[in-house]
Symmetry: C2
Subunit: 159 residues, 2 copies
C-alpha cells in the first residue's frame, strides 16, 4: 500500500522516521531527556528531590564547604537560581549555610548527617531508576553514551 493513499488525516501508519526532525541530534536529545527526567521524578516521588536539587546536594556532599557561586558554576546554572535550591535543602535540614571567616560575603555549604543519608538513599534510587530505564542497553553502550554526551558538554567549557 503506497503511503500517499493513506497520508491525509489517517496518521495511524505514520512512520516518525520520515520526518527530517528525526535526523537531528537535538530533537532526539530532547525526547530522551524528557523521558528520563519524568521517570526520575516519578522515582523520587512527590516530596522527593527534583533533579536539580539532587544535583546541588550531590555536589555539596562531594565538596563540603563549596560556595554557592562555585556550586552554581559547577552544575551549570545562574547564582540567582541557586538560592531557591539551597533554601529548599536548608529547610529540609540537608545542609547549612556556614559563614566563612576570611570573607564575610560568602557562605559555605555544609551537608548535615541527614543530608548525607538522604543523598545516599537518592543515589541508590536513581541507580535503580537508570538500571531499569536503560535495561535494554549493554554496559558498553551506556559507557559510550556517557562519553558522547560529555563530548557535547565539552563545548560549554570554552564559553
Amino acid at each position: 500500500m503506497p503511503r500517499s493513499a493513506t497520508r491525509r488525516t489517517e496518521g495511524a501508519d505514520i512512520d516518525p522516521r520520515d520526518t527530517d526532525l528525526e535526523g537531528f541530534v537535538g530533537y532526539n536529545l530532547k525526547r530522551a531527556y524528557m523521558i528520563v527526567q519524568a521517570d526520575f521524578r516519578a522515582t523520587l516521588g512527590e516530596g522527593g528531590l527534583s533533579p536539580r536539587v539532587f544535583s546541588a546536594l550531590s555536589v555539596c556532599v562531594s565538596h563540603p564547604h563549596i560556595t554557592q557561586s562555585e556550586l552554581a558554576r559547577l552544575i551549570g546554572i545562574e547564582r540567582s537560581g541557586l538560592v531557591a535550591i539551597v533554601d529548599e535543602l536548608e529547610e529540609k535540614r540537608f545542609l547549612r549555610r556556614v559563614p566563612v571567616p576570611n570573607d564575610r560575603r560568602v557562605q559555605a555549604l555544609v551537608p548535615t548527617d541527614a543530608g548525607r543519608a538522604a543523598h545516599g538513599e537518592a543515589v541508590a534510587a536513581i541507580r535503580a531508576h537508570e538500571d531499569r530505564l536503560f535495561a535494554d542497553m549493554t554496559g558498553e553502550e551506556k559507557q559510550t553514551l556517557l562519553i558522547l554526551l560529555r563530548k557535547i558538554r565539552a563545548r560549554e567549557a570554552s564559553r
Copy 2:
C-alpha cells in the same frame, strides 16, 4: 598538591568527574540538552522558530493534513500545549487550520508555501548549527549517539 589542602572555598581545582552525579546518564543528558537547545535558539535568532515550533512545522511539512491530536502525540506533548504553537505558526502564515469534511471536530494542518520555505531555511540553519556543535564527533559517533538516544525513546512507546 593533595586535594584536601585546597578543598575549602578554593574550588578552582575541583574535578567535576569525582561527583557521583557525573556517572548518571540523566545528568549528562540534561547538561548536553541545555547546551544544544541554547545554541539552537541562538542560531535561529530573536524572531526565529523555537525548537518546539520548528518540530511542529517540520511534521506538518512532512505530513500535510495531519490533525492537532496526531501532531501532539507525534512530537510528544499534550494537545492543549499544541494550541499556542499552531497559533504562532498560523499567525506567521506558515500553516493553516483547514476544516475536514467528514469530521467537523478536527482541523487539518496544512503548510503554506511560506511555511515550506521557512522550514527549508530552518533545516539548513539547524544542520549548520549541529555540524558546528558536533564538529569534534565523527559521522559514526553521531550515528551511534542517535541510535542510543532512540533506544531511550523506545521506552516511551510502551506507555
